[in-house]
């Protein structure tokens, strides 16, 4: 199957025809089925989709965080001209440690609970990316003046992420910090090595809304100041809209639509994208869609054609037979849905409102009742 999709100009990271499967007791589950994506230098790109759509697996395959076996990863992942999958673990760790940083989803679990913030961050500042450091070398540098410089860098970074009272925070354990402070500490840690690519998994979603917004604003500033390329993973299209330049919408282990952020929100094409946008709560409307009916496909025995077909209000027999092509391909756009075949007249293509009308709704002003 040919699946060439739009590619960013001057890409830092490209993922081509990524396939990831898992062997399990019940059989082989093909979770990622031919994903293509790319991130240009200085670009902020989001992968959006429901829980279980495969966005985290995609991210983990890029960072080589999956245990193989049970996972099996195929395809090509190129980072700044280097093919990553063919690197040895050691070589890969070096590239990752020096040039990529990951901010995990949950600020509660991403800081080591038995070390102070200062200890962890200073080690990262001093030894991050130097994965070849030996024991003797470590102790020599650990107890040299270099440690104080590293400490200064950490403090500076904590100030940059607007951490309150950074001196004090250095001596605190993660359990003594609020969620927002932990998130800031994590972001600071991720930026200490001055990475080229920042990968952020559901950043801030574990926090409450106001803090979440502050964190996203902070992130926007940091991206600008540090000239970062960013891959964001989120289930929240609102986050994608707030931060990113371009969005990939993922469903059932495939990219179903991609477009620059503004375009995607103004003119969502894929019925799934439309459904996602329709289920963003609207403050003005008097009714609210509760979400797209049905649930994500079973990966052990996925639908043979379009994986969204079982939930799609517009699905035809054709959809269930074969995987659709990428249609409407532009330099930065594409949609994997037969409705966008040139043969289909534009009038037959659904709008968000139409999709909304197919979804289960509940009155906006009343509560309770299924």
């Amino acid at each position: 199957m040919k699946l060439d999709e739009p590619v960013a100009e001057n890409p830092l990271l490209t993922v081509e025809n990524l396939e990831v499967g898992f062997e399990s007791f019940d059989g082989f589950a093909e979770v990622i089925d031919g994903v293509n994506l790319s991130i240009g230098k200085g670009e902020v790109v989001t992968i959006a989709g429901e829980t279980g759509c495969g966005k985290s697996v995609t991210m983990k395959s890029i960072l080589r965080l999956l245990n193989q076996p049970p996972a099996r990863v195929n395809g090509e992942i190129t980072f700044d001209g280097t093919e990553l999958l063919s690197l040895s673990d050691r070589e890969f760790e070096r590239v990752k440690g020096q040039r990529m940083s990951l901010v995990f989803q949950d600020p509660m679990s991403s800081l080591n609970p038995t070390f102070t913030i200062g200890e962890q961050l200073t080690d990262t500042a001093q030894f991050g990316g130097d994965s070849d450091t030996g024991v003797v070398e470590f102790f020599r540098r650990r107890f040299s003046g270099e440690r104080d410089e590293a400490r200064e860098r950490v403090l500076e970074m904590l100030r940059e992420v607007q951490m309150p009272d950074p001196e004090n925070i250095m001596d605190s354990y993660p359990s003594q910090l609020s969620g927002g402070m932990r998130q800031r500490a994590l972001i600071a840690q991720a930026l200490l090595n001055e990475p080229d690519l920042l990968i952020a998994d559901e950043i801030g979603t574990a926090l409450d809304v106001t803090i979440h917004d502050q964190i996203l604003d902070l992130l926007k500033d940091l991206i600008e100041n540090h000239d970062l390329s960013v891959l964001m993973i989120t289930h929240n299209l609102g986050v994608a809209r707030q931060v990113s330049d371009r969005v990939y919408v993922m469903y059932g282990g495939r990219i179903v639509e991609t477009a620059p952020t503004d375009e995607l929100f103004e003119n969502p094409k894929h019925p799934y994208t439309q459904g996602l946008i329709a289920s963003i709560p609207r403050l003005t409307g008097d009714e609210m869609a509760t979400g797209i009916d049905g649930s994500i496909p079973e990966y052990l025995d996925p639908p043979p054609g379009c994986r969204f077909a079982p939930r799609c209000p517009y699905a035809t027999a054709e959809c269930e037979q074969a995987r659709p092509e990428m249609y409407e391909r532009g330099p930065q756009t594409g949609v994997e849905c037969v409705l966008y075949d040139e043969a289909v007249p534009a009038s037959e293509r659904p709008t968000v409102e139409e999709t909304r009308s197919h979804m289960t709704r509940r009155p906006g002003k009343q509560t309770g009742g299924d």
Partner: protein, 343 residues
């Protein structure tokens, strides 16, 4: 609640447990079949002599009063007189305890220095050859009776290979060349400046200590392995690896410290089984320690000695568990917080 307040509460709880323990042990020891006074004096003594001694020992009083008398004595370090050795029980305990502590300390040391590294190695080769081998060894070590492995060691290293001595703490030829300073022979031989005796003391302790520590090594190995694997999958470890920190640093600094927490809890529990199994191991190796003394006391209905030994072990045991709690609080700030929040 402050951390130290928590510790004080814990101490109070321990005191209550120990008093409960002393009541149980004291009461059971006083409903002995047979008359301890008669046993102390032997079959030839007259009935009047036995009665007189019974009165002197306070055996005619009701048990609660006897208990209060005993506790009063306990506060000034008087545990009564052993019917068997005719010495003060406290003297006997001070005499025999160091041998047992020495044995347990060496066992604990072996448990830690063998068990933890093997657990780390097993975790790093999860489901590999080393991992499966350690799994088998662990199964073996918790299933085999300690006294049986002790006998097997004697057969193999003593009788068959003739590498090591199989009974006692020190060869008889060194008896006069070592003075008693601490009761710990590994220390006393050095203080006496007798290097040959020091080596001999090691030769004597190695088999019993190894036999005693085997079950613990298996458990420590498995718990270290499984907690290393748990911790290794934590986001923060993945993150630390992701930031390109040297992998040995991530394993031995950032993973092992967290993985050590369950291990530390197990080490506290292990101390109990070491104290218990020492009774069997000392018997096999004729190790002149507290456990040997206790077994003799039990077999001879020497009730003051039984109570004294049992209470000593109870105190040692709860103190170790208290110490483990304190250490846990030090190692893991979350536990300290949880302790502070408790009640």
């Amino acid at each position: 609640m402050k951390y130290w307040q928590y510790l004080v509460r814990r101490l109070a709880g321990i005191l209550v447990s120990l008093i409960g323990l002393s009541i149980i042990i004291f009461t059971t020891s006083r409903v002995l079949p047979g008359n301890p006074a008669r046993m102390a004096l032997g079959a030839l003594a007259s009935e009047e002599q036995v009665q007189a001694l019974a009165a002197e020992m306070g055996l005619n009083k009701p048990i609660p009063l006897q208990y209060l008398d005993y506790m009063r004595g306990l506060l000034v370090g008087d545990l009564g007189t052993s019917l068997e050795t005719k010495r003060a029980v406290s003297t006997d305990i001070v005499y025999y305890l160091p041998a047992t502590l020495e044995l347990i300390t060496v066992s604990m040391f072996l448990t830690v220095v063998i068990g933890i590294p093997l657990g780390v190695v097993a975790a790093q080769n999860k489901d590999g050859l080393t991992d499966n081998a350690t799994r088998l060894v662990a199964f073996f070590s918790v299933s085999v009776p300690g006294f049986f492995i002790a006998i097997m060691f004697q057969l193999l290293f003593g009788y068959l290979l003739e590498w090591l001595p199989i009974t006692g703490r020190l060869g008889s030829e060194f008896g006069s060349g070592v003075s008693r300073f601490t009761g710990f022979l590994l220390v006393d031989t050095l203080l006496s400046g007798n290097l040959a005796a020091h080596v001999d003391a090691w030769a004597h302790i190695i088999l019993p200590a190894l036999a005693l520590s085997l079950a613990g090594i298996g458990q420590v190995m498995r718990i270290t392995r499984s907690s290393m694997i748990d911790v290794k999958d934590q986001d923060y470890v993945e993150a630390e690896r992701g930031f390109g920190l040297p992998s040995w640093l991530v394993t031995y600094k950032y993973t092992l410290k967290n993985a050590f927490i369950p291990t530390l809890t197990i080490l506290g529990l292990l101390y109990a089984s070491l104290l218990g199994n020492a009774f069997l191991i000392e018997l096999v190796y004729s190790w002149p320690g507290l456990a040997s003394y206790g077994v003799t006391a039990v077999l001879n209905n020497d009730f003051n000695a039984v109570v004294g030994v049992t209470m000593t072990i109870g105190v040692a045991f709860v103190s170790i568990n208290f110490l483990v709690d304190v250490l846990l609080g030090r190692v893991d700030p979350r536990i300290r917080l949880a302790m502070e929040e408790a009640t």
